[in-house]
């Protein structure tokens, strides 16, 4: 049950009546009339229990885009339902309109168009539909919450998509599919052809040259069907906010660009999200469905406020990946966490796989390092220099284990990781 503003207004008007007619009986009589009106309204208001809800429209939307959906309300009761309806979603679903007036005759249905502009990645749920059915006099209403479940999956934004065309062009240069001077580099023997000026003299095949009487070079093409295993660290370090976005979202963006590039290059890509347990997995996806499957797997991931279990992560990777692979670990270069966790386990991993560690650095630290002016700024700069030195030392140590390290700020991590992959591919190290 709910009362309306009209009843309050009438009660207020009634309060002024004794100034004209100073009689208690008149006042009591008017109050009785209002009460009677409330009872009539409650009896004659449309039945909320007889409403049926159906939903249709988008169930998936990329973060930053707008989804369209509709709530269809069917009145199976015998009376017209005149009501205010609130479709209650979680706030970050960004549903609009939040409240609608509905007026549905008995036996008919109405469609309420909605738009969703989510502000956060993940699954957004419809919690309840509240209907306040107002009586014919507009003095009182029957109110009820009904459930009409629905989930809107908000996918990662993947803003680094714009880097994909340029990287694909580089990839085509590498594989020789594009007409260039250099036919391609790699370790897989492709064919022999005549030497032209500019070719690497090391690629001259002297045996064939002797046979042909002309200088002949061997050409190579990059390997195909290599395996990439992307590991997303969702532990506490991934919760750090860089500007406005969490480190985890930057890592996801970089992983998506790398996966898109690698699948076009003919490599197989798997994904594992791990902190102390497996959070998400995307394995053996088809080449065409890879990106959508990865995005689906990533969408509900949230940073967990626990220290990542490096040993568990390594053993999970080792048990899943049999063939030699490129293992891309998207994490943070945190010296303390590394020294206790991953560093002792790296030799075992690098013995069987090629390991690439991609870390998103914080541009705020660089800003602090450049800060000057007063003594507080200089202490900030000193602390930032110290942090960068720690990071450099860790990077050098990781490289000494034969691990590739990509360390870049959020706006450059995705292309930097893609470039590192292309460089490895060009060098035939996959």
């Amino acid at each position: 049950m709910a009362l309306t503003g009209r009843l309050g207004l009438l009660a207020l008007v009634v309060a002024f009546v004794p100034l004209l007619v100073p009689s208690g009986a008149v006042l009591l009589g008017l109050w009785g009339l209002l009460l009677l009106g409330v009872v009539i309204d409650l009896c004659l208001a449309g039945n909320v229990r007889k409403l049926r809800f159906h939903r249709e429209g988008d169930t998936r939307v990329r973060l930053g885009e707008t989804a369209k959906a509709a709530l269809i309300v069917e009145n199976t009761g015998g009376r017209r339902v005149k009501a205010i309806l609130r479709d209650a979603w979680q706030p970050s679903a960004g549903v609009s309109p939040r409240r609608t007036r509905i007026n549905i005759p008995a036996g008919e249905r109405r469609r309420i168009d909605q738009t969703f502009t989510p502000t956060r990645r993940g699954d957004r749920k419809a919690v309840t539909v509240v209907v306040r059915s107002v009586g014919p006099l507009g003095l009182a209403a029957r109110q009820l919450s009904r459930s009409a479940p629905r989930t809107l999956r908000v996918l990662p934004a993947f803003p680094s998509r714009r880097h994909l065309p340029s990287r694909l062009a580089r990839l085509r240069e590498l594989t020789g599919l594009q007409a260039t001077m250099i036919r391609g580099q790699g370790t897989e023997f492709d064919s022999l052809r005549e030497y032209v000026v500019g070719d690497d003299v090391r690629s001259i095949d002297w045996r064939a040259t002797a046979r042909r009487g002309d200088v002949v070079v061997r050409t190579w093409r990059p390997e195909r069907d290599r395996r990439l295993y992307l590991v997303l660290d969702t532990g506490r370090t991934s919760a750090g906010r860089l500007g406005d976005i969490p480190r985890l979202d930057c890592s996801m963006d970089a992983a998506l660009l790398l996966a898109a590039l690698a699948s076009r290059a003919g490599d197989r890509v798997d994904l594992l999200a791990y902190d102390r347990t497996v959070r998400a997995r995307c394995e053996n996806a088809s080449r065409t469905g890879l990106l959508s499957e990865m995005v689906e797997a990533m969408a509900p991931l949230e940073p967990a406020l626990v220290e990542s279990d490096a040993a568990g992560m390594v053993s999970a990777v080792m048990s899943r990946v049999r063939r030699r692979s490129l293992i891309v670990l998207l994490t943070e270069l945190n010296p303390a966490a590394f020294e206790e966790g991953l560093l002792p386990l790296l030799p075992g991993l690098t013995a069987r796989h090629l390991v690439l560690i991609a870390a998103v650095s914080d541009p705020a630290v660089d800003e602090m390092a450049a800060a000057r002016g007063d003594i507080a700024a200089v202490y900030d700069a000193a602390a930032a220099e110290r942090a960068r030195a720690d990071r450099r030392r860790l990077t050098a140590e990781l490289r000494s284990f034969g691990v590739e390290v990509v360390d870049a700020p959020p706006d450059r991590i995705a292309p930097a990781l893609a470039d590192a992959y292309l460089a490895l591919k060009a060098a035939g190290r996959l």
Binding site: G8, L19, G240, Y379
Partner: protein, 443 residues
């Protein structure tokens, strides 16, 4: 020395106070204006002392002088503090002087109306006028002090000009005696009504001790008040002890008409549906689990605060030097491992770096060694080139750094070099390192 521990991002207490003042100053200004206007109005309004027009009071506002003079002339004066008492004392042949009419209640006025004898109303209010001088109405007040009689009333014409001060004026029905007009409205009205003479005087000043001697005030007062042989001077008390049936005895609810009481009851009842209307939510509040996100640079900021809190100039200088070396050494074309070399481990590499940097900048080797490695002149691990004697103390181009090198303020303590003696030294070191890096980068 630096005493404040706030960073530029955090507003200081002064800034916060300033912002609050700027946002609140409009309201404060309006409040001040209201207070100022109120004070001005209160100051302009003539204040009335409780003893004003009291026949027993010798204060300038009292009327003791007039009463004494009257008594001396053989006029009997009875002072009454209560309207009922005054009404009973008044009779044919008496003059009832009614003052301070703002203290009279409607029942008091009824009693006075029922009395007999002549009436002199001094500065009567509207209700008193309506009750005791029907037909006479209040007009606008006048501030013109002096006025001439301009009428045929003997009491006035004998007195001549009167100093009224601020005075009420009246509109009188036609045919009554009206004196001391100001733009047509008289200050003094006298007429016959209900078988008695009623006189309305618009100002109390002519009767008071302080102004009795002005102009013809005394004459007018004597003529008006002493017109009868017996005077009843009514000055009602402000506070009544309240014997049964008095107005002061009744509560607020007795005084309110029943309709108003019902109105308030109706308002109280109307609050209930309005509260229920506004208080009823349209369904539950939807909760959402929000991720915890911490600024990634939080630990770095924390370390900076620790440095500052403990004045860790040595550690801060080490970090700055190491960072600068890491950036400068690759620019020189030397391997990165050289950047990590310290004077104690590899003096040769250090000497190489210092020489290369000095060659590419306008700083001498002493300044460069001090900036990049914190080496004080004559330190064992580093041999100064013979051409530049470290002990000669010639000031470097970088004034500040040269100055503290001269003073020998660098104590060879930390692993990365000497510690600046104070905050200014650390600031100077940071600037010097920036300058070196810039010059090497541009060379």
């Amino acid at each position: 020395m630096v005493t404040a521990v706030g960073t530029t991002a955090e507003p200081t207490a002064r800034q916060v106070a300033g912002r609050r003042w700027r946002s609140a100053r409009g309201i404060v200004l309006v409040l001040l204006c209201v207070v100022a206007v109120g004070v001005a109005l209160a100051a302009l309004k003539p204040s009335r002392h409780p003893d004003d027009l009291d026949p027993g009071s010798p204060r300038p506002g009292g009327t003791r002088a007039l009463v004494e003079i009257l008594k001396g002339r053989g006029v009997g004066v009875a002072v009454s503090r209560d309207a009922a008492d005054a009404a009973s004392k008044a009779g044919a042949g008496t003059m009832l002087v009614v003052t301070r009419t703002e203290r009279l209640t409607s029942s008091d006025l009824d009693r006075l109306r029922g009395s007999s004898g002549d009436l002199l109303l001094v500065e009567p209010g509207r209700e008193t006028l309506a009750a005791l001088a029907p037909g006479v109405e209040q007009d606008s007040p006048t501030f013109v002090i002096k006025a001439d009689p301009e009428c045929g009333l003997p009491a006035a014409t004998l007195a001549g000009t009167i100093a009224f001060g601020e005075s009420e004026t009246y509109t009188a029905p036609p045919g009554v005696t009206s004196c001391y007009r100001q733009s047509g409205s008289p200050r003094l009205v006298q007429y016959q009504t209900g078988g008695r003479t009623v006189t309305v005087l618009g100002a109390s000043r002519p009767l008071t001790n302080g102004h009795l001697t002005d102009e013809g005030n005394a004459a007018l007062a004597m003529n008006l008040v002493g017109a009868r042989s017996q005077v009843v001077w009514l000055i009602p008390d402000a506070h009544r002890d309240g014997s049964g049936g008095q107005a002061g005895d009744r509560t607020l609810s007795d005084l309110l008409p029943p309709g108003v009481k019902l109105f308030f009851l109706g308002l109280v009842v109307a609050v209930v549906p309005i509260a229920l209307w506004r208080g009823r939510r349209l369904g539950p509040v939807v909760t959402e689990v929000l991720p915890v996100v911490v600024r990634s640079a939080e630990t770095v900021t924390g370390r900076a605060r620790l440095y500052r809190a403990h004045r860790a100039r040595g550690r801060a200088a080490d970090a700055l030097r190491a960072g600068a070396r890491d950036r400068i050494v690759p620019l020189l074309g030397l391997p990165r491992t050289v950047a990590q070399a310290l004077p104690a481990q590899d003096p040769g590499a250090v000497r190489e770096v210092v020489a290369a940097v000095a060659a590419r900048s306008d700083h001498d080797e002493r300044t460069v060694a001090m900036a990049l490695y914190g080496l004080a002149p004559g330190e064992a691990s580093y041999h100064w080139p013979s051409g530049q004697p470290g002990a000669s103390g010639q000031p470097g181009p970088y004034g500040q750094a040269g100055a503290f090198a001269q003073a020998g303020e660098f104590a060879p303590t930390g692993p990365g070099g000497a510690e600046p003696a104070d905050d200014a030294g650390l600031l100077a070191l940071a600037d010097l390192l920036d300058d070196l890096e810039r010059q090497v980068r541009q060379s």
